[in-house]
Symmetry: C2
Subunit: 212 residues, 2 copies
DNA sequence: ACCTGAACACCGTTCAAGT
DNA sequence: ACCTGAACACCGTTCAAGT
């Protein structure tokens, strides 16, 4: 068989994408690989270590955009790429909740982001905080927004919204159709990202104005 | 004993805050309440239903700021309050990952946010997308940023950053001290929030300019 | 040396029996 | 009617035995 850690991590990631985080059990993964459950523990000390390896494999799919052109466009391309990889690996973001993954693979995108921000004129502290904001938004979106809404989801959510007390929650009821649309999809992601980029550009302009 | 659903949900939330999401098991919660495990199923059909009720109790702690003053300040106060409640209930945000909670309690803050945004001059669609951005940021932050870093966390993270390949990840290594500081804390949260608010203000000004 | 079945201490939930 | 112990079908991981 000649299995490697990477092959096992890939199989874990595939299972995760296919059936969700609850389906990824050591027994299940082992049986899909055609090995005994305990054989996995020869490659990874614990399940968490295996999950980190799977998250790392997903992170390596992020392709770093070329380092030319205006900072805003480059940053937008990079974050959109992060978003798309997360979308390709639903559940991948859950693997990174609460514990930071400091593997070289996972930090490639961070390195590229910091490079863009420092090049744009942000200080080290500003670049660090800005990356954290962008990271939080991209990963948070992938955790809280389902991949896409089916027509059934949509009508179900709308029905539940209509059942809400209109006297207590008038704005929710009023905006329900738009709010449901805003719950998923790349368009929603990009709208939010562009607001953040507007804020960053505004700050950079103010900063340049002061320095002149 | 005379237990109510709310009392059980509160006990679940307290256990969650005290020992984390893994510690909240039906057996454990029942034994803390001094009842048999299966008695819980007389109040909630499934564990998920109980988790939703616990998340709802946390959401009810969010106090809605008074509806006067400039929109930006009001919105900032509201989101900061959401952040603080999430901070008081670590694990609370995990309860809402992937499945939207449409209870009246959880939607009180949404209603207040939409009210502020519509009052500021955003369209319904803009208000819906903007609230989604703010929600994603506040909840994402609480999932990905630990409550606070201990000195031990800090030195551990810095040591791991120094061990990274400086030729592949030069910017990460260079910015490591600032990046570690940016990984937790209310200050980090507020810096990101203010960038978003800058972006929103900028958009509103542009919109008003066009209408004139 | 490498692999793995059995076993341990857990889960959420069903079912049937207790009061 | 309300409560709940036993049981079922699972977990991650330890341990000891197999090759």
């Amino acid at each position: 068989m000649e299995l490697s850690r990477a092959q096992i991590a890939d199989a874990a990631l595939a299972l995760l994408d296919r059936e969700g985080v609850d389906a990824l059990t050591m027994r299940r993964l082992a049986s899909e690989l055609g090995i005994g459950t305990m054989t996995l523990y020869g490659y990874f000390r614990t399940k968490d270590e295996l999950l980190d390896a799977a998250a790392d494999r997903a992170a390596e799919e992020i392709s770093i955009p070329p380092m030319r052109g205006p900072w805003r466009r480059r940053l937008r391309t990079l974050i959109l790429e992060v978003h798309r990889v997360l979308r390709r690996h639903p559940g991948g973001s859950q693997l990174r909740a609460q514990r930071p993954l400091l593997s070289p693979g996972a930090l490639r995108s961070t390195n590229a982001g910091l490079e863009i921000l420092l090049g744009a004129g942000f200080s080290r502290a500003e670049a660090a905080h800005t990356w954290r904001l962008l990271f939080t938004y991209a990963f948070g979106f992938s955790i809280f927004s389902p991949d896409q809404l089916t027509d059934e989801d949509r009508s179900d959510l709308l029905a539940r919204a209509r059942a809400l007390p209109a006297d207590e929650l008038p704005r929710v009821v009023e905006v329900a159709p738009e709010a449901v649309e805003a719950m998923a999809g790349e368009d929603t992601f990009l709208r939010g990202l562009d607001v953040i980029l507007d804020g960053l550009e505004h700050r950079l302009e103010r900063k340049r104005g002061r320095q002149r």
